[in-house]
Amino acid sequence: MNSFILQTFNGISYAALLFLLASGFTLTFGLMRIVNMAHGAYYLFGGYVGLTIAKLTGNFGLALLAGGLAAMLLGYVSDRTVLRRVGDDHLAQVLITVGIAYIVGDVSLKIWGGDAQKLPLPLFLRGVIELPGGIVYPTFRIFLTAIGIGVGVLLWLIYRRTQIGAAIRAGVDDREMVSATGIHVDRLFVIISALASFLAGVSGVLGGAFLTVFPGAEWEILVFALVVVIVGGLGSLEGAMIGALIVGLLDAYGRWLAPELSYFVLFGPMAVLLLFRPRGLFGSANMT
């Protein structure tokens, strides 16, 4: 029973990490219909920059900020230089962003080497906390979960309760119509895209502290985030939340019960969805 609760906590904290990544992916797609396979590379790059900063300064907060900003810069550059030109063709978008991810991955390998590296944590995040009921759990995982929930609530408030959020939701439904009402969808996209790559970078630093950063981490985390988005439905923030929880929990139980076959559990939600809801839980019909 105890290990079941522990695994549930593990799943929830992994879900928090996945949500940070998937929310950005799903919103940029919803708004501009751009499939960004380089999203995992932002995560990786943010993680590595955070690693360097954390080692240099010993300040984890600074590492989080630096990782986020580095990924944001990377996202901005790839948006401006190539992504802008591809238009609506998903094939072109995928191949170009895969190209960007290859370049980022290979250059990172050259700079930071091929070994898996763990971000050093500040003292107050290193230990364990005793929860009511006698369960002992790593502080950092709780910190991560809190960040995930905090960002989730914040994003949800912006998305549902502000003018910008309304514009985003409208843009997801019908981009042309929103432009026609005088809202600069392009400017909106720059904001969302910056936010998304920033969150990806931050999640890279957070992920680096408990999953380590290593070459290839960008694809692993991207695929998990994509399954979250497939399950939740493209373009939906609520979908990303629910999807992250489902995938995070299934992954934790899978690793616990059948470590060698843990990737199998990713098939489950996808197969169910393909059969019953091909557009995901919260996906809308115009999202292809």
Binding site: F29, R33, V35, V82, R85, V86, H90, L91, A92, V94, L95, I96, V98, G99, I100, A101, Y102, I103, G105, D106, V107, L109, K110, W219, E220, V223, L226, V227, V229, I230, L234, P259, E260, L261, S262, Y263, F264, L266, F267, M270, A271, L274, L275, P278, R279, G280, G283, M287, T288
Partner: protein, 315 residues
């Protein structure tokens, strides 16, 4: 078939036959690899070029077939006559399952196939007790059918060439058939085809299975060529590159994927001999091809020939 096309085919065939004597050991090995990956790219292009489905899980069929054949041959000493068909069967069975993804379209199809393909890599990598993990299955013996063993690179080259020609011929017949026409009809207007009484999901599912069969065949050939199979053959990069090869050469053509395989594999071997960041160079190739030459080499050639013809008419 036009006269010019016949000449082209004869010239290419002659070139393929004499190639081992020009290219030497290294050239023969590289060309065998080009044939095998060209078949993989062709299989992905059946969906991409004719049905308009952008699949990112072809490495899964390729590697499952390769693993099955390799494991049967190495661990259970199953003869090639059974191990090779078993590999194709396993890969195609996976296609039956993954083919469910044709219920989705557009981005969902891309993301779902990518995730499914990744799971196969993950299983190859993590399920070490069965797949050999990181190091994979080694020492795959030379294929031996009916007491005849293809033990040298040269023999295997001609065998792969023969299989490839057969695949090309059948593929040619397939895309010229009413079935191929239906696929292209679905690609250009699914709603219209539906209202004409066709069932797009059924046709797309069939195409998916045929495509996975071809990818599995390439995978089995790869297992015997490479003599070992490891998770790299199941990685996303293989799926990405299969699509890129089709695109570089020219999609919806038969020769295109093979030209693309030649360019990509040739370029990679050449670049990696003097430059460490060859994956980054491949990334640049992805970006350059998609941005400036989306119709591939064959598209560029066609444009060049058309322009010359137009010039000649004016003169």
């Amino acid at each position: 078939m036009t006269q010019r096309r016949k000449i082209l085919i004869v010239v290419l065939l002659a070139a393929a036959l004499v190639w081992p004597f020009v290219g030497g050991q290294y050239g023969t090995s590289l060309m065998t690899q080009i044939f095998i990956f060209g078949m993989l790219a062709l299989s992905a292009d059946l969906l991409l070029g004719h049905a308009g489905l952008f699949s990112l899980c072809h490495a899964a069929f390729f590697s499952v077939a390769a693993y099955t054949t390799a494991i049967l041959q190495v661990r259970y000493q199953v003869p090639t006559e059974l191990a090779a068909p078993a590999g194709i069967l396993m890969g195609t069975s996976l296609g039956l399952l993954f083919g469910l993804s044709v219920r989705t379209r557009g981005v969902y199809f891309i993301l779902v196939t990518l995730a499914m393909g990744y799971v196969i890599w993950g299983i190859g990598y993590r399920w070490a007790s069965f797949t050999g993990g990181d190091s994979g299955v080694t020492n795959v013996p030379a294929p031996s059918v009916g007491g005849f063993t293809l033990s040298t690179m040269l023999e295997y080259y001609y065998f792969v060439l023969a299989v490839m020609l057969l695949v090309m011929y059948v593929y040619h017949r397939l895309i010229r058939s009413p079935f191929g026409l239906t696929l292209r009809g679905i690609k250009s207007g699914e709603a219209r085809m539906r209202s004409l009484g066709f069932s797009p999901p059924r046709h797309l599912y069939t195409a998916f299975i045929v495509s996975s069969f071809m990818a599995s065949l390439a995978g089995v050939l790869y297992a015997y060529f490479n003599k070992f199979v490891n998770p790299v053959s199941a990685s996303l990069h293989v799926s990405f590159e299969a699509v890129l090869m089709a695109l570089v050469g020219g999609t919806a053509t038969i020769l295109g994927p093979f030209i693309g395989a030649g360019i990509i594999l040739g370029l990679r071997n050449w670049v990696s001999s003097f430059f460490e960041l060859h994956l980054a160079v491949m990334g640049l190739v992805f970006i350059i091809v998609v941005t400036w030459a989306p119709d591939g080499v064959i598209g560029l050639l066609k444009r060049f020939i058309d322009r010359r013809k137009a010039g000649a008419n004016h003169g």
